[in-house]
């Protein structure tokens, strides 16, 4: 089960409203390589994973991804806080405001809904872990793209943190795959 800790894993304090960035950040809230996809993928894969070490890793990384999702939601909410209708219109986010006010919503940066089809959970340990390694690289690349679009350090610092975590997760999944291969011999 999950306990909730009333803190963010890494601080988010965006004081300059930025509705354009809020839209871009949706890619990591409800997009194909989003934290939502990662959390759901790993937490789903763990149930029939044969090896304790890999169940542990999928549970722990999956849990960390929920903490990342929370950071992205915080960034989106703060980017939309105290934004004028004019600013929303220039950023093409007046439609968003009508549907969601200043809440996040699990769609990607083009407004496409999140879908279960973003998840791979084959029940085969090698397939799942190979997929997970690729997912972490995809997420890393999206973070790099997002970082390129902003020069506000209040935005880029949490994104740099999240990018770095994807790299670490990739390493851990690579180790888990080696464990699986050894065990399967």
């Amino acid at each position: 089960m999950w306990i909730y800790e009333k803190r963010l894993l890494y601080p988010v304090k965006i004081t300059n409203p930025n509705p354009r960035m809020a839209r871009l950040l949706l890619e990591q809230y409800g997009g194909s390589s989003s934290e939502l996809t990662a959390a759901n993928t790993y937490l789903n894969q763990r149930y029939t994973m044969p090896f304790g070490a890999v169940r542990a890793l999928l549970t722990d990384i999956g849990t960390e991804e929920l903490a990342h999702l929370e950071m992205i939601a915080s960034m989106i909410t703060q980017c939309l806080k105290a934004v004028s209708i004019e600013q929303l219109k220039s950023a093409g986010m007046d439609g968003w405001y009508a549907a969601h006010r200043t809440s996040p919503y699990p769609v990607n940066s083009s407004g496409e809904p999140w879908t279960t089809t973003y998840i791979v959970s084959s029940g085969d340990p090698v397939t799942d872990l190979t997929h997970d390694m690729a997912s972490e690289q995809q997420a890393r690349a999206v973070y790099e793209g997002l970082i390129d679009t902003s020069d506000d350090s209040n935005i880029t610092k949490p994104l740099q943190f999240l990018r770095q975590r994807e790299i670490v997760h990739y390493q851990r999944f690579e180790e888990a795959l080696a464990i699986v291969r050894t065990e399967l011999k």
């Binding site: 306990i3 009333k6 304090k13 890793l57 960390e64 670490v168 851990r172």
Partner: protein
């Protein structure tokens, strides 16, 4: 740890806890690394000390009975982490 401000205490909790999240993942795939394990346990002990102090002096950081609420029911109205 007597003249520490609330902000400094939260900063220490953040640093210890992040260190432990990262070390936890490492131990999942390196479960026989006793050095890392000792590091995990010693930092975990210190995190408990820090969180207990935060709970006593300020408010619970966790729900479902994982922290005490010593000044009335504090969970509802203490700051939520996504607010500025």
């Amino acid at each position: 740890m007597n003249n520490i401000t609330e902000k400094e205490l939260l900063q220490q909790i953040a640093e210890y806890e992040f260190f432990l999240v990262d070390l936890n993942l490492y131990l999942d795939t390196h479960s026989s690394d006793t050095g890392a394990l000792n590091d995990y346990n010693s930092h975990s002990q210190q995190l408990t000390v820090l969180k207990d102090k935060y709970t006593r002096d300020y408010a619970p950081l966790e729900n479902f009975g994982n922290a005490l609420s010593l000044s009335g029911w504090q969970w509802n109205d203490t700051p939520w982490p996504w607010d500025l």
